[in-house]
Amino acid sequence: MTEQATTRPAGRTVELDERLAAYKGVWVFIEMERGHVHPVSWELIGEGRKLADRLGVDVWGVILAPPGEANMVAAGEAYAHGADGVYLMEDPILADYRTVPFNNGLCTLVNQFKPEILLLGATTLGRDLASAVATTLATGLTADCTALAIDLDTRSMAATRPTFGGSLLCTIHTLKARPQMATVRPRVMAMPPRTAGRTGRIVNVPLNMREDDIITKVLDYIPDRDQEQAQLAFADFIVAGGRGLGKVENFRLVEDLAAVLGAEVGGTRPLVQGGWIGAERQIGQTGKTIRPKLYIAAGISGAIQHRVGVEGADCIVAINSDPNAPIFDFAHYAIVGDAVKILPALTEAFRARLSANRKSI
């Protein structure tokens, strides 16, 4: 991303040269860890479907995995979520993620079947792999996109991501190289509906590598004990605080309300930096993206890096003493006032309402 680039004439119709025009179709890398597919893969198939429909092409899932039944199950799920086909590369070498064999495998597939768009989840695996693949293929890669669209004039993908500085977004195109690559963080795109019984094609391609030629070895895998990270991203109810709470002691007010709602707690980056909450509780561009049914934000200004992490929430209630706070631009309910006074009142009111109702059932 560069500032100089913005001064270039935009909107010009580009005839894709023959070499690039040979690239067709939208691919989604299906991320499997020990037989388990990361849900971001289905979110991307849903998004890929929309792009493909605009372009009039197919959506393909790409599975790189050790041989096993899990792969056909994953392929079936890919169809159910909207894929037309799956490229399957099976090899025991692919049992654990390592950059070299995955990069090799994915680049082999791209060079052979030439997709115009390749999407990956912005997970630790997806980012590691996407960067290696984009560098190997000398093509453009846009990280952590929050929106993807097609510019039909140029037949190119418009990848939008937050940019530097706090309140701006930018849209990036890859015009002179293929495939156009992007990563998207989990939970940024909605989970597409699942159509049971939808089927597709499968294309098997060998990896053609030998374990002896791979220098990096996986000695062990230590699963995380606390599943805290997953909980925040997938929680239905979240109460979060920001710097507007004033002092660390006031964060208890957020926790009290969360306890009454059975909700998870989160916060903005300054709270993490100030040591009020752990990094795993940060919500936003460099923290977790959330899609809860109810999000209550107290003392949060609503900077773009926070906004992109919470826009998928069904209902956002914001408490901020400044009526002009940016958070009111995307919240559904605006409470202008002192969070320190309002949070306890909310806690009591929810307690009364929810328990009263439970007794009456």
Partner: protein
């Protein structure tokens, strides 16, 4: 042992303001700092200096003004500092950046072979986490991203074992040197340099390299020309067309009741979902 640390000079994001009318970033007068993530990489490199007597070279690509970032890295204990600066690099995206940096690293390695290249996890301005893997791919170095710990290094066998953060767990990886490591944040604390380092840093003459000095093989792969991505549009996020509904009340209690009534009416099912959730979480607490 020789290690290179890639650090970037970035504007202190806490002090960036966006012009309210033109929507452009107001950089004037914004102080610059070393990309905070890169300090974890630098500290890890300095620990190899403590342990193995490794030589630590820091490398920055940027405009001539990027000089202070390098200067700041020296008093921590870095031995050499190289500023890669050339008009040809202006407007680089991550692909072009990794091209320029890897050319310079290859050049550095010609005088003294490199065992490990360190990068930060990501920058706070570009924020892509792409440049590190880009360098590894170009230089054919074993790529170790999101490293939380260097477990051991066997200098004789030229082997390294690290912990790498993966989704849902930690991978323990063993590989051969040379390798490229991107350090995870909060894995260490940058040290206070010694007085000796401070004195040496004050007298130190930075090395400045142009594209030619760095032996960049093909300038066409640098800067704007070498960047496949094009920024087409920079814009402010639009306000929702439907404005947030204001909720008010005489007292906080009255306001709270109004909010709950309004939200539960507008979102039927929410109350039941909440009650189910509470049932689950109290169960979880008691079991």
């Amino acid at each position: 042992m020789h290690v290179v640390v890639c650090i970037k000079q970035v504007p202190d994001s806490a002090q960036i303001r966006v012009h309210p009318v033109t929507n452009t970033i107001m950089r004037q007068g914004v102080p610059t700092i070393i990309n905070p993530y890169d300090l974890f990489a630098l500290e890890e490199a300095l620990r190899l200096k403590d342990q193995f007597g490794a030589k630590v070279t820091v490398l920055t690509m940027g405009p001539k003004m990027a000089d202070p970032a390098l200067r700041k890295a020296l008093p921590f204990g870095a031995d050499e500092a190289i500023l890669l600066t050339d008009r040809a690099f202006a407007g680089s995206d991550t692909l072009a950046t990794s091209y320029a940096l890897s050319s310079a690293i290859a050049k550095i390695g010609q005088t003294e072979p490199i065992d490990i290249v360190f990068c930060g996890k990501q920058t706070i301005d570009g924020d892509t986490a792409q440049v590190g893997p880009g360098i590894a791919t170009r230089l054919n170095l074993q790529q170790l991203t999101y490293v939380s710990k260097i477990v051991s290094i066997d200098k004789g066998a030229r082997q390294i074992v690290v912990h790498r953060r993966a989704e849902g767990g930690v991978q323990v990886l063993r590989t051969s040197l040379p390798c490229l490591i991107t350090m995870l944040e909060d894995t260490n604390h940058i040290r206070f340099g010694t007085m000796d380092d401070a004195f040496r840093a004050a007298r130190y003459q930075l090395t400045e390299w142009s594209a030619t000095d760095a032996g960049v093989p093909d300038v066409a792969q640098c800067g704007l020309r070498g960047s496949p991505t094009v920024v087409k549009k920079v814009f402010a996020p639009s306000a929702k067309t439907v404005k947030a509904s204001p909720i008010a009340g005489e007292t906080p209690d009255a306001l709270a009741k109004t909010l709950i009534d309004t939200v539960f009416t507008a979102h039927p099912g929410l109350q039941e979902d909440l009650e189910n959730q509470i049932a689950i979480s109290t169960q979880g607490a008691s079991s």
